[in-house]
Amino acid sequence: MSWIDIGHISDIPLHGARVVKTPVGCVALFRTGEAEVLAADDRCPHKGGPLSEGIVHGQSVTCPLHNWVFDLNTGVAQGADAGRIETYPLHIKAGRLLIDGAAVGKRSAA
């Protein structure tokens, strides 16, 4: 694992989200609790909606375009909808957010 520091937890509003641009596309960071952030694809598999713009509730997010709901732990769409978004390992250390560079397609610096 190659952990990359992408910011501080307080940069994300509680029950809100921010985006990180990565080689595999935009990854959304959802702050589901005071000290909890979950990372997943920003793109809804249904019509490509920006999930980071959705309402965050519990450990799920609702897509702003057509109300698909995803469990942010597993990435699986809930209820009647079928689909999955990729989730990414994320560590919080002393408030700093560390994402696994390898998982988001970042070549480690030689």
Binding site: G16, K21, E34, L65
Partner: protein
Amino acid sequence: MTQKLVIIGAGMASGRVIEQLLDADPSAYDITLFNAEPRGNYNRIMLSPVLSGDKTYEDIVTHSDDWYEQNGVTCRFGEHVVKFDRELKVVEGENGHVPYDKLIIATGSAPFIIPVPGHDLPGVITYRDLDDTNAMIEAAAKGGKAVVIGGGLLGLEAAAGLSERGMDVTVLHLMGHLMERQLDEAAGYLLREDLEARGITVKTQASTKAILGEGRAGAVLLESGETLGADLVVMAVGIRPETRLANDAHLTVARGIEVNAQMQTSDPDIYAVGECVEFDGHLFGLVAPLYDQAKVLADSLLDQPNAFAVKELATKLKVTGCDLFSAGDFAEGDGREDIVFRDPARGIYKRLVIEDDRLVGAVMYGDTADGSWFFGLIQGGTDISRMRETLIFGPAFQGGASADPLSAVAALPPEAEICGCNGVCKGQITSAIEGGATDLGAIRAQTKASASCGTCTGLVEQLLSVTLGDDYAVPQAQPVCGCTSHTHEDVRRLIKSQELKSQAAVWQELGWTTPNGCHVCRPAVNYYLLADWPLEYRDDPQSRFVNERKHANIQKDGTFSVVPRMWGGITTPDELRAIADAADKYDVPTVKVTGGQRIDLLGVKGEDLPGIWSDLNRAGLVSGHAYSKGLRTVKTCVGTDHCRFGTQDSTGLGIKLEQHLWGSWTPHKLKLAVSGCPRNCAEATCKDIGVVCVDSGYEIHVGGAAGMEIKGTELLCKVESEDEAIEVISAMTQIYRENAKYLDRIYKWLAKVGLDWIKEQIVDDLENRKALADRFTLSQSIYRKDPWAEHAQDSTTRVQYAPLANLTLEAAE
């Protein structure tokens, strides 16, 4: 062969090491114990009861001077250690040197001081040891005001103790809810309620700017500009490991002194234990892991194999009457599920976090009797799949019935107002039921409750059900969403009658079954709170649909549309130039004229929004709220200014109305129009509220629709002056804001309450009309402002439109 052991620091961790060593082999070491405090080891956890007066220092001493003497421990109390020399293996105290074979650093932690101006004034103290406790007791004896900075475990215990001793206490906490590391929002809300019930003021999201005073602390200044008088300031914002001696001796120190699983530092003859250590990235502040470390350290000194491992922790708050328990881990993991139980009547909240059929975390408030049982399940990693259905009911499970949806109504006091239209409280209704009124019709006939607008019907039926038990079957109404059994109408009424002023209060008191709602109820509850408590409640952007959070309409490709406001549909060449320039500068692909008399810039990138807004603001243009559940536009015709048929200045009135109403949030979108004569060129009679000017004045129409349904308006009333028209329309908007279900347009809500009721309220009752208009104006004092300017000019908000980081940029090879 007895070796020399020197210990720096006589706290709970090193006390436990000494006990373990003496138990295992009393002759193995000759022990010298240094302590900066002029006393031996006492139970620091019990300082809070000493502060509150429940115990005395004598009660909490764990090792008396006699005990040290009997066990041959040489005590150097009240003596600071200057340094230790790893080459010579000597510890240098203020009063002389002591050689060592093995050394234990147990220096504990130091309170973290926020370096604000005035932090070093007399009267500012921390809360770590007996001397601090005595200083607080002494200060409290004089009475007056205390401000405690920090709403964590220590801060709250300090606050409760000072309050117990008669001080007027305010707690300041930086985060959104108290004890955020141990509790979730819901439990934090209950804790706050309990503390406030005992007279402690709690301010969350409060950041300290400075401590003010001439030669002594006298007040605390907040970043918000508020000043709080303070005869005593207690800083309890956190602790940091005391590592100075270890640093000076060049041991490996990160945040704490780094140790391996045998509690050895980077020097094999030097060990560390307690709050000064860091192990595997963890710091320690609770006593359980300290005791584990002490056992491992004693074994290491006796060459017994043992290894320290980090375990789950449980927290309890030692404040009488605040019963809370938190254990385990709420951090991320795959496949997490919550089980939530709430009993509003008894102020109980329990939440379990489950992962892979195992319990990984628990938060409980109000009833913690089963805490240790749950903690056992967490620590043991017990498979709970077979008890899952009833797990939340604890070990004594009797097969669980689900929580009673009627308990919130049952818990209301007799004087709680149920029917707002007719001022009927719960006690009157229950008396009527006990007197033989057994159905809705009888209650309406006898008390008038639910006989007017009807929004409290659900509550009256629940009261019938609670009072009559099984003899009454409540007709099933649609609840808001899967998080609650209450209807929108019930939630609205209960927010008013129980004076619920935060989302956490609604979730707890009304028995929500999820930790923080869902995408259906959150926007509704957020709206109800801001409509009912404009001054006390702060709008929560994270409970709003993206359009209202980002003040632009999201399009199918994730870009946004930007619509500046054109007051009454009037614009100027300068405004048009600014719009054209912005369209060029931000590569806007589509510019469209809307149906509401304005111009729409479609396809703006999310990151460009603050920029385009700043440019438009410079030309005097503000948000048109084309995205909001609030006022959209006031469409006008040209009226007497130009038209040969115009009877009144319809454009002027439209502009005045728009300037009065803009920025207000309503249950659904609100569209107005003002036509200058009965030809009605502005199509006023299919709007939510429409004005048709006639020669003798102004006809005010309500309840039109030209969307999913086509509906002509109904005439509400006719008035003679513009001022009257504006007052009636303000009152109409406010009565809609205060009573309608979220996402009901006026025509839908009107079908439920009836035009006659509206007429009674705002046409016939002039006093009520004015009161409603005044409440609207009060709410507008908060909400009538341009969100574009706010977001573009506030750096913390502006930055949220940009990505947090960009990892696509490769460093140059």
